[in-house]
Every structure is written in C-alpha cells, then in structure tokens.
C-alpha cells in the first residue's frame, strides 16, 4: 500500500566530510513515511544519485544526539550521518 501524502514527513539530512563529498551537498530534504525508522531513511538516501556507496548502517545522530538505527523519526527531525571519526587527532585504525 502506498502511503498517502499526509503520511509523509519531511526531515533534514546533514552530510559531513566524505559523505558530503559523495552527495556533493551538505544538506538534503528527505520525504519519509511518518514514524519511519532511521534505517528506512538511510535506505531511501542510498537510493539517491551518488549515495549508493553510503554504508547501510552508518552512525547517525538525530537532533544532535546519537541514536540507534531503530529510532523512529518525527517531522522536521535533523538527521546527521556521522562518518567515522578519528578523534580529530589520529588516523582511523592506526592508533
């Protein structure tokens, strides 16, 4: 069953570092089914041009707090895809 328009919410997706390079954009407005999980939103994102190489299970923050992929989204949520961080200091797996 297709969701009707009133069942869709708009959320803002923020992209940083190499995720932003992939998207060639730092911010994307995304339509998701109301109450969809973060996992669902990520799947939708990966369907967009250039974003199929995003990881299927990235680290995600919603409204500036880390959440699990099962977190349910509300309208106007700010979703940030968090690329692997290296402490700002050291290379990824080197340290």
């Amino acid at each position: 069953m297709q969701p009707s328009p009133e069942d869709l919410s708009t959320v803002t997706v923020l992209l940083f570092a190499h995720y932003r390079d992939l998207a060639e954009d730092s911010s994307i407005e995304l339509q998701v089914p109301t109450g969809a999980t973060v996992r669902k939103a990520v799947a939708l994102l990966r369907g967009l041009p250039g974003l199929d190489s995003l990881p299927s299970e990235p680290t995600v923050a919603v409204n500036r707090e880390y959440v699990s992929l099962d977190h349910s989204l509300a309208p106007n949520d700010e979703i940030a895809l968090i690329p692997p961080v290296a402490g700002g200091l050291f290379a990824g797996g080197v340290e």
């Binding site: 190499h18 690329p83 692997p84 290379a91």
Partner: protein
C-alpha cells in the same frame, strides 16, 4: 562533589598556556594533554590538516563527555578545547586539562576524555599531504 567544566570548539588557534592556570590550591595534580598536528601519518608526509565539525552537536557532545568524566572521577576541573578549520604543523588540535587532588584521578580522567573525544566527537579531519593530495581520515570505512 562538583567540578568546574569547560567545553569549547573553536576556529581560533589554541594557546596551551591559556589553560595552564586551571585548578586551585586544593589541587595537587594537574594533567595537560596537548594534541598537535604532526608531520607524518601512516608513512605519508603531512603538510597541514583541515578539521570540519558538526558544530551544533560537537560542543554539546564535548560537554557531555566532560560531564560524564567528572562524574566518574574525583576531579575539580575538566576542560577541553578542540580546533576546527585549517591547522598547521605543530599547532594544537586539541587541549585537555584536568585538575584533581590526586594524580591517579587526573591522569585517568584525562585519558578518558581523549578516548571519548576520539570515539564520539563529530569532528572530521582531512589530511593534506606534501604531494598536494587530500584524504578524509577514516574514509576507508565507507563502502566504496
């Protein structure tokens, strides 16, 4: 016991000597950690670094880290500052200062702050190499 906590994300150069005066005469031990941009990484010659932050979240997350650490250890002062933007060789990327009555708590708290910053702070580093190429550190984990 209560602790004095300061979390700061800044695009301005960090002067480590600014935080040397932390703590009071109740503190027997002060541990400073200074992370600097080093001229090599993974066998490549590094020219400078560029840090990008999710600014709204980074300062909030840094404050969470410091608050948790202050809950875990008997410390009177926990302060951390992290650079964003372009940082030249030898400049300070991150500075941490912890003051405590006893040294064990000061060392352990400082290490925990640095470990948590490394794991959680939404700040990304792009290395610029001597040959002019640039790479986002950690990007290897992207499926591509």
């Amino acid at each position: 016991m209560s602790s004095h906590i300061v979390a700061r994300i800044t695009a301005q150069p960090i002067r480590p000597e600014e935080i040397l005066k932390a703590g009071s005469s109740a503190d027997g031990a002060v541990v400073h950690f200074v992370g600097r941009v080093r001229d090599h990484n993974g066998g490549r010659s590094v020219r400078r670094l560029h840090y990008e932050a999710y600014a709204d979240m980074a300062e909030r997350e840094l404050l969470s880290i410091l608050t948790e650490v202050a809950d875990d250890w008997d410390v009177s002062h926990v302060e951390a500052v992290h650079r964003t933007g372009t940082v030249e060789l030898g400049e300070t990327s991150v500075a941490i200062v912890v003051a405590a009555t006893h040294r064990a708590a000061a060392y352990e708290a400082s290490m925990q702050v640095m470990e948590q910053i490394k794991q959680r702070l939404p700040i990304w580093k792009r290395e610029e190499y001597a040959d002019g190429t640039e790479v986002w550190v950690g990007a290897v984990a992207v499926e591509m």
